[in-house]
């Protein structure tokens, strides 16, 4: 099983990026729509010539992140604090996920980035280019061919396998935050398994909407112990979290990493008389005909005509190719 960057003892390729490259050039090459500062770009001064270390972060930082990842894997669902580094991109653009990916990648990896299921959004393209430039890794849009997949808002439709790593970008790691803003208190609740509040949230949902209306970031209990925020994936994806691949979650601004090891029990919280339902739009994909995928609604003309297509663009394209 490839643990990629977790494989200790594998020599790191310092300065794997193009030697002599200046930080602002790399940064300028990442086409982020939001502003970023050159100060954020930083550079590893320990590397001669000012070149980036392999995958941008210096070795000490990567080791620190790997320790956090290993601890996260050892305690599934537990939020491990880590010293998040400034990255040459603003918070909210996946700095947590990028740092986790940087700590996992090896030169042999094949890297895929998806944003809302698509490989071609600005965010996905930027992160993919970032690692092409700083790590020189091969990139792919094929889920099955990727060894490390960084994602925002989706789990790929193609089932992941042993040896793959799925890295989630997480905005708010604390599932109890919305009802209990004090971090000292939420930490104690996790420590004491005091999770009544989580069901209060679901109770409120039903009281107000007649059903559990939470459609994204639907809370789960991991291996019967920690309640965890799965990041803003649709609840449709929740059942997929019991998978063969390693799942790692990185929250940059909040400085937390957590993990789900392969084949871990992940249960979506619910009530006996209001059981969890993954849910899905009552349509088939207009492009590939799939009836079992998460669909995006697309407005096709000014008259408001709409069609439903797979949000996972690689999955949809692969199915269309197979049918052709």
């Amino acid at each position: 099983m490839s643990l990629a960057g977790l494989r200790q003892g594998k020599p790191e390729h310092a300065g794997h990026g193009e030697a002599g490259e200046q930080p602002h050039e790399v940064a300028a090459d990442i086409h982020f729509a939001a502003p970023f500062s050159k100060e954020n770009a930083g550079m590893d001064e320990s590397v001669p010539g000012g070149a980036y270390n392999f995958a941008y972060l210096d070795e000490e930082t990567k080791r620190m992140i790997r320790r956090a990842i290993l601890k996260g894997i050892a305690i599934p669902g537990y939020q491990v604090p880590f010293a998040s580094r400034e990255m040459p991109m603003p918070y909210g653009w996946g700095t947590g996920g990028v740092q986790v990916s940087a700590a996992c990648l090896t030169p042999d990896d094949s890297f895929k980035v998806i944003d809302q299921g698509a490989d071609d959004t600005t965010n996905a393209v930027s992160i993919r280019k970032f690692f092409e430039r700083t790590a020189g890794v091969e990139t792919t849009e094929r889920t099955a061919e990727a060894t490390v997949i960084q994602t925002r808002h989706r789990i790929p439709e193609t089932p992941l396998t042993e040896g793959q790593i799925l890295v989630y970008q997480v905005p708010i790691p604390e599932p109890l935050r919305f009802l209990e803003p004090r971090e000292t208190e939420t930490r104690r609740m996790h420590a004491l398994e005091d999770y009544g509040l989580m069901h209060v949230k679901l109770y409120e949902d039903i009281a107000r909407h007649g059903e559990i209306a939470t459609a994204y970031a639907y809370p789960v209990k991991v291996e019967g112990r920690y309640v965890m925020d799965p990041s803003p994936i649709p609840k449709f994806d929740n059942p997929k979290m019991e998978m063969a691949a390693i799942q790692l979650f990185g929250a940059g601004r909040e400085q937390r990493i957590y993990a789900i090891p392969p084949y871990t029990r992940v249960v979506s919280l619910d009530f006996e008389d209001h059981p969890f339902v993954a849910g899905k739009a009552p349509h088939d994909c207009a492009l590939c005909g799939a009836s079992d995928t998460y669909l995006d609604e697309i407005i096709t003309d000014d008259a408001g005509s709409r069609m439903y297509v797979c949000s996972d663009t690689d999955h949809c394209a692969t199915r269309q190719e197979a049918a052709a």
């Binding site: 004491l192 398994e193 009544g196 209060v200 109770y203 409120e204 009281a207 009530f271």
Partner: protein, 256 residues
């Protein structure tokens, strides 16, 4: 009979200042004890020590637990103490904002303790919440409203329902009628008295208001400068106070 709560030698200091010291008493099932004194007398510090919100420097607070009999709650593990705090114990704060979740509906507030101990049937939780709202005179059509839409007296009644829903055996109350209008206070006291009797609750009520203890408490403990200066049956203490401080307290009420 085993006391429900047996308190011995409680002392809490803040640096050189004494919060409370040398406090001991037994509280028996179904008994309501009033702790009276002026502000700064140490009564609130004492209540916090007894309820596990503060750790006393010395002393023991032995509670007769359902499962294992008498246990010292001071030395018990935090998870155990917390479990007590959401099952057999209840705490009614003076300010309902401290005891309610203001962003959660009345039904959610009442249901939280049920869910905390594993209730997972929405319909049953709601039914119980409805029942409890009724018992504190909040009509069913307010069940989905948030507490900030309630009057002060109604918020306090909601806090009481939220606490009593788990069927606790011991209720700590910190100035439960403080900050309310006199007419609202009277109604709340009537309600509390009814519930205490009906449920056979034991309670510790901290207050500076002798009218509250006159109506609710069987026994009284008078505190001054962190120490207990007089104890006894409520009527006895109020009608025939022995300690000069108690005499002063009682006479100051009579003068009003």
């Amino acid at each position: 009979m085993t006391p429900l709560l047996s308190v011995q030698g409680i002392r809490k200091t803040y640096g050189f200042r004494i919060g409370c010291t040398d406090v001991g008493f037994d509280l028996y099932p179904g008994e309501v004890m009033g702790i009276v004194g002026e502000s700064g007398s140490g009564k609130s510090t004492l209540l916090s020590c007894l309820a596990g919100h503060l750790t006393p420097d010395q002393g023991s607070v032995v509670f007769d637990t359902r499962a294992e009999g008498p246990r010292d709650t001071v030395t018990m593990s935090e998870p155990e103490r917390r479990m007590l705090g959401r099952t057999d114990w209840a705490f009614v704060h003076q300010n309902p904002r401290d005891g309610l979740r203001m962003s959660v509906s009345a039904g959610g507030n009442v249901g939280e303790r049920l869910m905390a101990v594993g209730a997972r049937h929405y319909g049953q939780i709601r039914e119980t919440a409805t029942d409890w709202l009724g018992r504190v005179e909040i009509t069913e059509d307010r069940i989905d409203d948030r507490p900030r839409a309630f009057s002060g007296g109604m918020q306090q009644r909601l806090q009481i329902a939220r606490n009593l829903v788990s069927g606790p055996r011991l209720v700590f109350m910190d100035e439960p009628t403080g900050g309310l209008d006199v007419s609202v206070q009277a109604r709340l006291l009537d309600l509390l008295r009814g519930l205490v009797r009906e449920m056979g609750l034991s309670a510790l009520i901290v207050t500076h208001d002798l009218a509250v203890v006159r109506l609710l408490a069987h026994r009284l403990m008078v505190m001054k400068s962190g120490r207990v200066v007089e104890t006894g049956l409520t009527d006895q203490v109020l009608d025939d106070p022995q300690h000069p401080y108690t005499q002063l307290l009682v006479s100051s009420v009579l003068q009003v």
